[in-house]
């Protein structure tokens, strides 16, 4: 049984079939890149996996449990963490408090009315922030952080629930080139340390070919190639999708 098993996923919007029969598996230790030109269906695919959209057809199984039809927060509770293409943090809270919220949620203490939230799970939050290199900024408000730092906070928030798999939608979008490589190196290290399975989308081919263990190539809603980076790079269909020319 695979960690994540996606079978024959379909989803249309009106007359447009955005995702057409996508199937793949994800195992612990994978750093799987989902690539494809704009409009290929990457984001739709992601939103089908995390429960934001419901597939018209197909199944998504995490350790054998069907995720289709569950709301995002149930899917999260089963062990699917995520980061967003456009960062989404709690802007009115400090960096540490953002991570503490996730820890409180995991411990099911969100309805606590008495003990101050800021004093709960602080040490754990700081440890996670240390791992992503944000400990020094733990008490700054999230609303004032630089973009790259926000991405790190999101990563710490995703890790706080100790997920089995991590979905990262364009984790390095909007970052400087050196920051991109740092973040991906950090992600790769986390995959090794924690036995995580990561699925990410990405436009930057340096990032993709530098760090992914496997690639999925999506074009017009269909998977057209799958495999290790070198094999995918050599695939003529992939080249034609990216470089134009005759298929």
């Amino acid at each position: 049984m695979s960690r994540l098993e996606v079978r024959d996923l379909w989803r249309g919007f009106g007359g447009v079939q955005a995702v057409r029969g996508v199937s793949f598996t994800l195992e612990s230790g994978d750093l799987l890149a989902l690539i494809g030109p704009n409009g290929a269906g990457k984001s739709t695919c992601f939103n089908l996996l995390n429960g934001q959209l419901r597939p018209d057809q197909g199944s998504v199984r995490l350790d054998g449990i069907d995720l289709v039809g569950l709301p995002p927060r149930r899917i999260w509770a089963l062990g699917v963490g995520r980061t967003f293409q456009i960062t989404a943090t709690f802007a009115s809270m400090s960096v540490a408090e953002n991570v503490q919220m996730v820890l409180l949620s995991r411990a099911r203490r969100l309805f606590g009315l008495w003990r101050p939230a800021a004093r709960q799970f602080r040490a754990e939050a700081l440890a996670l922030l240390d791992r992503v290199g944000m400990a020094a900024q733990a008490d700054r408000p999230c609303g004032v952080l630089a973009y790259g730092d926000l991405k790190r906070v999101e990563l710490a928030m995703a890790l706080a629930s100790d997920p089995k798999i991590l979905l990262m939608d364009e984790p390095t979008a909007g970052m400087a080139p050196t920051e991109r490589l740092e973040l991906m190196a950090l992600t790769a290290a986390l995959v090794r340390e924690r036995g995580l399975a990561v699925l990410f989308t990405e436009h930057d081919m340096d990032v993709v070919f530098g760090h992914a263990t496997r690639l999925l190539v999506l074009d017009r809603g269909q998977l057209i190639a799958e495999g290790p980076p070198d094999a995918v790079r050599a695939d003529p269909r992939v080249q034609s999708v990216y470089l134009g020319g005759e298929p």
Binding site: N50, P71, P72, R73, W76, A77, R82, F84, A88, T89, F90, A91, S92, M93, S94, E97, M101, V102, L104, S105, R106, R109, L110, F111, G112, L113, W114, R115, P116, A117, A118, Q120, P141, G143, M157, A160, S161
Partner: protein
């Protein structure tokens, strides 16, 4: 059979007026994204202007219709002035500011109209040429109403032509869909919006002027029509003209037949209908499922930090307040009692707005439920004060639990409209169910037990209970519960993706805020010795919003300062003049324009700068 037909026709005539007003409201909303509370006031102004003109010139057919048209243009002109002077500065403000700002205009116009035309109801003359009635299956039906029935579809058709066949209409629709893109393409949005306000307000004025031959013109027309127009616009789908037409037809029929079947709850019926529609079709009958209007409050939410030493400062303040009756006279103690009660009321609303980003326009419902709960326990069961006071937060909390279940399903403006609807339901019940609630006469003789009958003793009791409740609310704000509420407001997408059930937190917050308001209401009932339906009316909810706004949305202590200041203004300044609505309206408009962060926020900003 013929009776039912005539009843249905009179429903259609009502629907025509309702559509005229609602179409203006929905057009203005579609373009500016502002729900204009003052729309009903423009309707009222149209009626008064129409009355004056018709009295002078309305003897002939031509004079009558020219008067109606002139009244509509007058209301339109005022709408345009309002856009330039007020709305234009509010387009990017949180919806709280927009609703409050336009409500300020409601208050100002109420007093202005009363000043010009006087407080008496005015009977207008009948429309020349349409005075008689026709026989429909043996039943008489007024010709004038028949004309109105035809006018509704005619206006819809004209508006449709305007928006699809003229350059101006197409530009307005473009700006509706994407304001920034339209201005990037060289359309001057300012002029366009002024024009739209003119059109929408003129439609309201037209609706008002056309009422002159049908009913007495009076000072309550504004609130009566705006609440109904809200329902029509929300049921039809905000921004949809055809939807408004359809909804007006449905609601006209509902009112015409509702009065036959359920004469006791006619007022409740339309709001129940709206609640049902919103549950079945969340965006209204013909509304598009677009992104919820963004809560601008969330975007600018600053960090909220528990200040050091706040506990000691609060204890000091409490000791000072407790010592005051030793030196202050009875009147001052009564004033203090009311202030403390209002502070709890404002703080409970702040829990929703400040932490949850949920702008409730009907929070007075729960204050009123608590007050009525306590009063009715005393009146019907002869309960002693402590028992009645314990019942107050329970009754209000249960009411909030029920209403909240519906309200938190929607966000932003729809949430505000739903809370308003539930407050109107509560108000209607208190107003119409006179056998149980005393109706308009309220419940009298709700006095404290013997041991607490001294003004100072009751003040200490109030202070103790309110301080306790405020302490709990503050604890909750900084506990995980309050943080989870803020998380849902900051980014509901992220909150849901880390396992936070945003809706359930909002629901509980609604119930918690409701029961705190209920406690305040119960204390208020015993402080005053009586309760009236006005405790739950829209202006009471707005008072609470003004208190929160005065204190600043972003600070936990703000509402307390806001309540104190508001009550001081209300009792010392406004009640000293006959024109307190005008004053309050001006205060609200000034607050909205000058202190977008509230007074405490403004002072904090000054301190930060120096």
């Amino acid at each position: 059979m013929s009776f039912l037909l005539v009843q249905s026709l009179s429903g259609l005539a009502t629907a025509a007026t309702l559509f005229l007003v609602s179409s203006g409201l929905t057009i203005v909303f579609g373009v500016t994204r502002i729900v204009n509370f003052a729309h009903g006031s423009l309707y009222m102004l149209g009626a008064y202007l129409g009355w004056s003109l018709i009295e002078r010139f309305g003897g002939t057919v031509g004079g009558f219709w020219a008067s109606v048209a002139a009244a509509a243009l007058g209301a339109g002109a005022l709408g345009a002035v309002m856009e330039v002077g007020l709305l234009r500065r509010l387009y990017r403000s949180p919806e709280l500011f927009q609703l409050l700002g336009t409500f300020g205009v409601v208050l100002i116009l109420q007093d202005a109209v009363a000043w010009i035309w006087g407080p008496e109801d005015l009977m207008g003359r009948r429309a020349p040429g349409l005075k008689g009635s026709v026989e429909i299956l043996g039943q008489p039906f007024p010709l004038y109403d028949l004309m109105l029935i035809g006018l509704g579809p005619l206006v819809l058709a004209l508006l449709w032509l305007l928006f699809t066949r003229t350059r101006w209409g197409v530009l307005v629709r473009a700006a509706t869909q994407d304001r920034d893109m339209a201005s990037a393409l060289g359309v001057d949005p300012a002029r366009l919006f002024t024009g739209v306000l003119f059109l929408g307000s003129a439609l309201a004025g037209l609706g008002g002027a056309l009422q002159v031959p049908r009913e007495a013109v009076n000072l309550h027309m504004d609130m009566a029509i705006i609440v109904e127009a809200f329902v029509v616009v929300v049921v039809g789908g905000m921004g949809s003209l055809t939807g408004a037409f359809l909804a007006a037809l449905l609601i006209g029929q509902l009112q015409a037949f509702g009065i036959l079947v359920f004469p006791q709850i006619t007022l409740v019926l339309v709001f129940l209908f709206m609640a049902v529609v919103l549950i079945l079709r969340p965006h209204g009958l013909l509304g598009r499922a677009e992104d919820a209007p963004p809560s601008a409050a969330a975007a600018h939410a600053p960090p909220m930090v528990a200040g050091r030493g706040v506990g000691w400062a609060a204890l000091g303040l409490l000791a000072l307040l407790a010592a005051l009756p030793l030196v202050a006279g009875d009147y001052a103690v009564i004033l203090l009692t009311e202030t403390v009660i209002l502070a709890l009321f404002a703080a409970s609303l702040h829990l929703l707005i400040g932490l949850g980003g949920l702008v409730s326009f009907g929070h007075a419902a729960y204050f009123g439920l608590g007050a009525y709960g306590a009063a009715l326990f005393v009146k019907h069961l002869g309960a002693p004060m402590p028992l009645a006071l314990a019942a107050a937060p329970l009754v209000a909390g249960l009411g909030a639990l029920a209403a909240g279940w519906f309200c938190v399903r929607r966000s932003g403006l729809y949430f505000a409209m739903l809370t308003l609807a539930f407050a109107q339901i509560a108000w209607s019940v208190a107003f119409q169910w006179s056998g149980f609630t005393g109706g308009d006469n309220g419940v009298l003789g709700v006095w404290p037990s013997g041991w607490a009958s001294g003004k100072a003793v009751y003040y200490w009791l109030t202070l103790g209970l309110c301080a306790g409740a405020l302490g709990l609310l503050r604890r909750a704000a900084f506990a995980p519960f309050g943080y989870a509420l803020r998380a849902g407001r900051d980014s509901s997408l992220r909150a849901e993706s880390v396992g936070i059930d945003v809706r359930r937190h909002q629901w509980f917050a609604f119930a918690l805020a409701g029961s705190a308001a209920g406690l305040a209401g119960g204390l208020y009932a015993f402080a005053k010795g009586s309760v009236f339906p006005t405790l739950m009316a829209v202006p009471a909810s707005v008072d609470a919003l003004v208190m929160v706004l005065m204190g600043g949305v972003q600070t936990v202590s703000g509402p307390l300062a806001g309540a104190a200041l508001f009550h001081l203004l209300e009792t010392q300044v406004m009640r000293a003049t006959d024109w307190w609505r005008l004053l309050l309206g001006l205060v609200i408009v000034a607050l909205v324009l000058l202190f977008p962060k509230g007074i405490v926020g403004f002072l904090a900003g000054l301190r930060g700068r120096s």
